[in-house]
């Protein structure tokens, strides 16, 4: 007899649905706030003192991502990869604006 391959389906508790929908939405919304505030500060439209709020939103986003991944029962490896992705997301705007300012300096010269 052939081995039967079973795929385990995650069971989500009824009370977890709303937190899952909300936390996953907040992953994106907080992520947007992070880059939006970071961008506005870099453009000079907001003062430098607002920059910590950008990082607070990144922190909230990362927490929501972890919470959400745990609630949908992602496997431990995926959760680790998602956290590494969040670190990359933190670095990305820094890298972009660094390259952008350097290229603009060269362009203006």
């Amino acid at each position: 007899m052939e081995d039967v391959v079973l795929i385990r389906r995650p069971e989500i508790a009824l009370e977890d649905f709303l937190p899952i929908f909300l936390s996953s939405s907040f992953v994106l919304i907080f992520g947007l706030f992070f880059v939006a505030i970071y961008t506005l500060v870099k453009m000079g439209k907001l003062k430098n003192m607002y920059m910590p709020f950008a990082y607070i939103f990144w922190g909230l986003q990362t927490y929501c991502m972890y919470f959400f991944a745990a609630k949908i029962q992602s496997n431990p490896f995926t959760i680790k990869v998602l956290m590494v992705t969040m670190v990359c997301y933190l670095i990305l705007p820094h890298l972009y604006y660094y390259l952008n300012f350097r290229s603009e300096e060269r362009y203006e010269q």
Binding site: I12, L14, S24, L28, A36, T85
Partner: protein, 471 residues
């Protein structure tokens, strides 16, 4: 009315835009009929059933967007390549053939509706494949017409100037046209069949169409606010890389339903999570470019925006793309959640906002660029009708999305989680007060959207006569 367009390619684009706008109206009318049928199941029973209204609603959406996309390429080609489109006569012929074919197909959908479920039905009535139900003769015809379009784009780009926008378009349109072939053959195994079919719509909307929108956004920003080409094209290339990567692998989040190996859950989940990143980047790029360009031109007499309605639609695109494709996509499509949400009103909520936010908005923006070019308007300002159009259509679609999300939430909890997706569960959830009231609000918001569409048509047709425009 005087046509100020110097290039035949742009004149052809206007024809595509006109048919696209007509099909957009047909899509909304069919949506209203289907929305009424949800609440009053006997409405037009056995005359124009729900399955037909829904099919025409969805197909009209796909086809009007393809029309507007082809029109947009014909519109921007002379600007980018600095020459007339090669093979423009062939392009015109293809336009009339495509329009005749679409008319016949829609009439068959509406008047004939069903066939004997044999080869005859597949060839002459419909293929029964959601979103791309065209009968096989039309399927083959569409391929021929699209090949003409692809040839025109490539031949023109090779002969004329090759900007970054045109180069990305060439790669993207080739993929867009090629993917259509994946939905044209049948296999006996329904899972295998669905596997291939999903490629068409999902790689279209999650990869090729998104890149296409990136090209239009880049072109629009240059045309409307004079953004620097170096900046928008740099972003375009980054978006291409990210969207092809996240779009293709993120597609794995759908594979849960078609019997592919379990590792696709995790690959699909991870890359789905990355899919919104290019969308966020696109949004940031719009703010950043706008801020930089207005900043550079401060104090000068030069107008920094020459088409306010188009710019308003482009900005709506940045928000709508993020909300519809991003937020509404992310919270319900990961496999672990999608097992409960698949095929509920959640899907419908996501579909409505994503198609509108990511695609309809920017294509309507292109309509305005077409009107500006055709009427020779240097600075096109917003009118009362254009403000009403964007406000009512956006509020209408957002309202529909929220209503459907509420209906879907009730459905997920009762039909799927509590009652285990049985036949009885389906009917119980259909009578939930949240579900019924949600669909009632969806209908009301659909009417708001349609009124907005009427304002849009009025504005597009009368904009050159308005005294508020500065020529």
């Amino acid at each position: 009315m005087v046509n100020n367009l110097q290039f035949e390619s742009k004149r052809l684009a206007i024809k595509y835009f006109i048919v696209a706008a007509i099909l957009f109206g047909a899509q909304l009318l069919m949506g209203l009929i289907a929305a009424i049928q949800f609440l009053v199941p006997g409405f037009l029973f056995e005359v124009f059933d729900f399955n037909v209204a829904r099919m025409v609603h969805i197909n009209a959406l796909v086809v009007w967007m393809l029309y507007a996309m082809i029109g947009s390429v014909y519109y921007l080609l002379p600007d980018e390549t600095e020459i007339e489109t090669v093979g423009i006569k062939l392009g015109n012929l293809a336009f009339y053939i495509l329009t005749a074919a679409v008319t016949v197909v829609v009439l068959v959908y509406i008047l004939v509706q069903v066939g004997p479920a044999s080869e005859f039905t597949i060839w002459f009535i419909n293929e029964g494949r959601e979103y791309i139900e065209a009968p096989r003769w039309a399927d083959i015809g569409i391929v021929v017409v699209v090949l003409v379009f692809v040839f025109n784009l490539f031949a023109t780009a090779i002969k004329g100037k090759q900007t970054g926008i045109v180069t990305v378009l060439m790669a993207d349109v080739l993929a867009l046209a090629g993917l259509y072939l994946a939905g044209m053959f049948f296999t006996d195994n329904i899972s295998v069949d669905q596997y291939w079919w999903w490629w068409v719509i999902h790689l279209w909307v999650e990869a090729t169409w998104e890149v296409f929108v990136g090209c239009l956004a880049a072109y629009g920003l240059i045309k409307i606010i004079g953004a620097r080409r170096e900046i928008v094209e740099m972003w375009l290339w980054i978006e291409v890389t990210m969207l092809f990567g996240s779009g293709i692998l993120g597609l794995g989040h759908h594979y849960f339903w078609i019997g592919t190996p379990e590792y696709w859950w995790e690959i699909g989940a991870l890359f789905s999570a990355l899919e919104p990143v290019p969308l966020v980047a696109m949004f940031v790029h719009v703010i950043y470019d706008w801020g930089k360009e207005t900043g550079l031109k401060e104090g000068s007499e030069e107008k920094t925006m020459n088409n306010s309605p188009a710019f308003a639609w482009f900005v709506t695109n940045a928000f709508g793309n993020f909300l519809g494709a991003g937020v509404w996509g992310f919270f319900h499509t990961l496999p672990q959640v999608n097992i409960y949400t698949h095929g509920t009103q959640f899907t419908s909520a996501h579909g409505h906002l994503a198609f509108f936010g990511a695609y309809a908005t920017i294509l309507i923006g292109m309509f305005y660029l077409g009107v500006q070019g055709k009427n020779g308007i240097k600075v096109l300002k917003a009118t009362f009708a254009s403000k009403m159009a964007i406000s009512l259509i956006t509020i209408g679609v957002l309202g529909m999305t929220v209503s459907l999300t509420i209906a879907g939430y009730g459905q997920v909890l009762v039909e799927r989680a509590q009652m285990g997706a049985t036949w009885q569960a389906y009917f119980v959830s259909q009578s939930l007060p949240w579900f019924v009231q949600g669909l009632g609000w969806r209908l009301a918001m659909g009417v708001v959207t349609f009124i907005g569409f009427v304002f849009l048509v009025k504005d597009l047709l009368t904009t050159s006569k308005s005294l508020r425009h500065i020529h």
